[in-house]
């Protein structure tokens, strides 16, 4: 390993601009003559739009355009789509209702855009928006997914009777029922996986500009996948042909899934910019983001785990109702199905699993992938059941897990996933040791002396990353392939531009991708520029989400580097008048075996462009190669997280006393960055378990619509984390990478709730375990005792 190669904790190249305030996020971009757009949004969860009167805006200063959904519809643009078709049990396709960028006819959630005002300044646009009169006919709304399919529930879309999008299932129902019947013990849990608002710190933003001379549009957009945005806006919305639409995702301030999707706002900005022949800029305000960014999770689940007399898990049966909100967002259908139920075997050999998922529409903000996307929900099901099962059976939760671990690989689960490699016991043992598990009893007694309740909880999670083998996801209904591309452009002096279809919004690709190239070519990381996020520069790519950039994006880079090296070798052979087969390339040098002849990387690069000394009829001049890499399997990162909490029973407040994470991510390119990903993921998972809650009232008003009511994790809510790794190589990609971006968020909710329920002695508490929630739960438990006393 060189000082900056694979495995080195290299300090990040991109940091220089961020720590000096020179980052360029979308809102930092200013185009000459830009106008500001303001979206008028429905204040009602469900309402007919009877009439929109914009006449009073005409005299307002600065106004350049006011448009309604009706005008948008006149231009015959297509709808926003969900790009993954899930089939119901009966084989019928999911019921996707039309989703226009500006609602016409009916608003379906609070925040649904019904009109826009464009003015010279945002203040003017807002002032004018107050003069727009929208006449609504308010309809009954439904926000609770369990009530959405009830008889008499308000129908949200004609296309989806009973508000049902699909009734999907996986696994063997009969065999699972038999296992439950024959079980020595069945553990049953019912719970809600709480709805979350992603809250990347940079609110979404878009600027659209029309160039009348070429008839082309440019969109600056806070996006995790600019090419996919271009494809959807071109092919489905029909805004412009792909070659007339450029999408630039500059610095993006966090995504966590929420910036994968194609949203109405960027579409409307493009439409308005072309209509007005003026750049149109939109920057989401935080309270607006609560009403428009796709939310995450929101499952209601009943699950049963069957154990035999030896404590072996013999079956798992799960029913989940997934709330997808008012419209189907870009990947929403896949999250509670293929990204969820296929992970329900956890780290365990479970012979029979059956899972049913009902997806429903409600009058709420659309729900889609949020960090972990389906896998935190699956881990929560499995890890809560195993932990509670151990408590009910009176055995150690570590031992029960160990007894049921998958131990031989490859392992075919009963829910389609094929685990390729892992050593789950290694992570568990290391975590137990680092955490000082054996002295937990001592610490618990010490807490009790101070009137506090102490608890400990595990989460042995598994996830599927490296999305995804294209033919496989195609069979499952995906509308796209999930390969990745890379292009390595070698300059004549040997420095490199690396173009990737991945996109960074915090992951540090400009450093880690450079590490990979630098090590391979024997150059410094400063000689490698990583180019991403611009459809005019990078030919195509699928973007960054699902912890895929290492496993898939870097594999494409390796493939392109293979081609570069092969060609460079051919050229070097000519330059040194040696046989290609005698050449060795190492540490940036081509040497001829058995001689003292050698050429440096830069000399060969120059030779490739000078092209004097090789037959250009056989070898083309120049040195530039591209590759598309399609994974052959998902990757399966896994690990063990242990959370220890102390609860103040008087106030219900939980303090996390310590956190141990031992993860197997396969090959690690930059351990500093990987640890950072774990920290951030755990913080989001702790947020879900302790703080974050998206609350709608029965009328569909979002009660938690700003940071005044939606609790974001702060520094003093969290401990410092103990983070370590174990290693098994991922066999399905050239570098052996599994992926690390979501692990913390996947493991943490179950670990926290296992610790809290361990401390308070009841399983009957839902997330978030806020102080009030814990206090009220303790009150319920104590009440009969008090009555007896």
């Amino acid at each position: 390993m060189s000082g900056t190669g694979i495995g080195a904790a290299v300090r990040r190249k991109e940091d220089q601009r961020f720590i000096t305030g020179k980052g360029q996020y979308t809102d930092d971009v200013a185009r000459h003559g830009q106008a500001a757009i303001y979206f008028i949004r429905s204040p009602h969860a469900h309402a007919k739009i009877k009439k929109i009167d914009t006449s009073r805006t005409e005299k307002m200063p600065g106004v350049v355009g006011v448009f309604t959904g009706a005008q948008f519809a006149e231009d015959k643009l297509g709808n926003l789509i969900c790009g993954w078709t899930v089939l119901s049990k009966d084989g019928s396709p999911m019921k996707m209702a039309p989703h226009a960028a500006i609602a016409a006819g009916k608003a379906n959630h609070v925040g649904d855009a019904v009109a826009v005002v464009i003015a010279d300044t945002l203040a003017q646009a807002k002032d004018a928006a107050e003069k727009v009169v929208v006449d609504y006919d308010v309809l009954p709304a439904v926000v609770d997914p369990m009530k959405a399919t009830a008889k008499g529930a308000p129908l949200i879309h004609e296309a989806a009777p009973n508000n049902t999008i699909y009734n999907w299932h996986i696994g063997d129902a009969d065999a699972t029922n038999v296992a439950l019947k024959n079980a020595k013990h069945v553990t049953t849990l019912e719970f809600v996986n709480n709805r979350l608002v992603p809250n990347a710190m940079e609110p979404r933003a878009a600027i659209a500009e029309y160039d009348a001379a070429s008839g082309s549009l440019t969109l600056w957009n806070a996006s995790q996948n600019p090419h996919v945005a271009r494809l959807v806006i071109s092919a489905f919305v029909g805004m412009a042909p792909e070659n007339k639409l450029r999408v630039i995702a500059p610095d993006v301030g966090g995504g966590f899934g929420s910036k994968i999707f194609i949203y109405p706002e960027e579409v409307v900005c493009l439409w308005a910019a072309r209509k007005l022949h003026r750049p149109v800029k939109w920057t989401c305000e935080r309270s607006e983001s609560f009403l428009t960014d796709a939310h995450g999770r929101d499952h209601v689940t009943r699950a049963q785990m069957a154990f035999d007399a030896e404590g072996k898990i013999i079956g798992l049966k799960v029913h989940t109702t997934a709330n997808l909100g008012a419209y189907m967002s870009t990947f929403s259908s896949a999250v509670p199905t293929f990204l969820y139920a296929t992970l329900l075997s956890g780290q365990y050999a479970i012979p029979h699993i059956y899972c049913e998922v009902d997806a429903v529409y409600t009058n709420t903000v659309p729900v889609d992938a949020y960090r972990g996307a389906g896998r935190p929900e699956a881990t929560f099901v499995v890890e809560r059941l195993v932990e509670v099962g151990a408590r009910e059976l009176g055995v150690s939760p570590a031992d029960l897990r160990k007894k049921n671990f998958v131990k031989t690989f490859p392992y075919q689960t009963s829910v389609a996933s094929l685990y390729d490699a892992g050593d789950y016991n290694a992570s568990l043992q290391k975590a137990l040791q680092i955490h000082d598990y054996k002295d937990f009893g001592k610490r618990k007694r010490e807490s009790e002396r101070h009137g506090k309740l102490r608890g400990i909880g595990f989460a042995n999670y598994i996830e599927a990353c490296g999305v995804a083998p294209s033919s496989l996801v195609g069979q499952l209904g995906a509308g796209v392939g999930l390969w990745e591309s890379a292009e390595v452009r070698v300059n004549p002096t040997g420095s490199v531009e690396l173009l990737t279809g991945c996109h960074q919004h915090g992951q540090g690709h400009e450093t880690t991708f450079a590490q990979l190239v630098a090590e391979r070519l024997g150059i410094t990381i400063d000689q490698v520029n990583v180019v991403h996020g611009d459809t005019d520069k990078v030919q195509f790519g699928m973007g960054t989400y699902g912890s895929r950039s290492g496993a898939v994006g870097m594999s494409a880079v390796v493939k392109a580097l293979d081609k570069v090296e092969a060609k460079a070798k051919k050229i070097a052979a000519h330059l040194m008048e040696a046989a290609e087969s005698d050449l060795v390339f190492k540490d940036g040098k081509f040497t001829v075996a058995g001689t003292d002849k050698s050429l440096a990387w830069g000399e060969v690069a120059l030779g490739a462009y000078v092209a004097h000394k090789f037959p250009t009829s056989e070898i083309e001049p120049g040195l530039k190669e591209s590759a598309f890499y399609d994974p052959t399997n998902f990757t399966f990162p896994a690990g063990c997280h242990i959370c220890e909490v102390e609860i103040d029973p008087e106030t219900g407040h939980t303090e996390i006393m310590s956190w141990t994470a031992v993860d197997d991510f396969g090959t690690v390119i930059n351990p500093m960055i990987v640890e950072g990903q774990v920290h951030g993921g755990v913080a989001q998972g702790v947020g879900q378990a302790l703080l974050e809650h998206t609350v709608y009232d029965t009328n569909g008003q979002l009660v938690t619509g700003s940071y005044m009511d939606y609790a974001m994790p702060r520094a003093d809510d969290l401990p410092s984390f103990k983070v370590d790794t174990t290693f098994t190589k991922c066999p399905s990609n050239p570098l052996g990478i599994k992926g690390c971006g979501e692990a913390g968020a996947i493991a943490a909710p179950a670990a926290v709730m296992n610790a809290i329920t361990n401390a308070i002695g009841t399983e009957k508490i839902d997330m978030p375990a806020t102080p009030q929630n814990i206090w009220a739960t303790l009150q319920k438990m104590n009440r009969p005792q008090q009555a007896a006393a």
Binding site: H653, L691, H693, Y707, M708, A711, Q772, A776
Partner: protein, 270 residues
Amino acid sequence: MYAFTLHRPETVRQAAGLLTKNEDGKLLAGGQTLLPTMKLRLAGPPQIIDMTKVEGLTGIEESGRGVTIGAMTRHYEVNGSPVVQQAIPALAKMAGMIGDPAVRHRGTIGGSIANNDPNADYPAACMALGATIITNKRRIKADDFFTGMFSTALGPTEIITKVSFPIAKKAAYQKFRNQASRFALVGVFVAKRGSEIRVAVTGAGSNGVFRVPSFEEALKKRFSPKSLEGMTIPADGMNSDIHGSAEYRAHLVGVLARRAVADAIGKPIA
């Protein structure tokens, strides 16, 4: 933000004159509550009277048996003032618990008191310490000043100029934060001055800050957390929202009062 006209008076008299002339005028002190409200267009006062340049409204003075704080004195100044730390340590500490450090660099005592936000900290301190609010027109006892949620005894052209606190060494503030906003879900300030004991609660009451006579009576017998053991207040009249039911808030009043007394006598609980 709605458009407004900004006025920048230099004396209290000028500011009062502007309020007289503009019935819809609103004073802007530190702006840490008013500006966020205006940004969200929840308020749109057409006339804003900025108090930054007004002379004589800042500073902290010890005067005999009390400490007098100018209305435009910022929270960080009260928190860091050796005078306050010496005379009423609990008040200095409380000021350091308001908002966050950046907010404390801007927010003022006068603004906080005049707004009487039901979740603000200062009203509890004023009530418990028996402060006197001094305006350009009169002196008002804290007990008479806070008249309900976001409402005070201030007249339409009345401006707080100073707040005077009697010295109290045995006093403490306990705050249980709303996890989202970080405002007080419940805050309890207890103070003992001679034989007078006051317990004032913010955050919990649906009518703003209030005192708890039953706790005060109990503490008169013995100023110890034990005196409050098992005591609670009724949930009637408590705020209730997603962050805390009325029952939870009522319960926390008891818990925090005990802990505040423990702090005040120098024997903190955990």
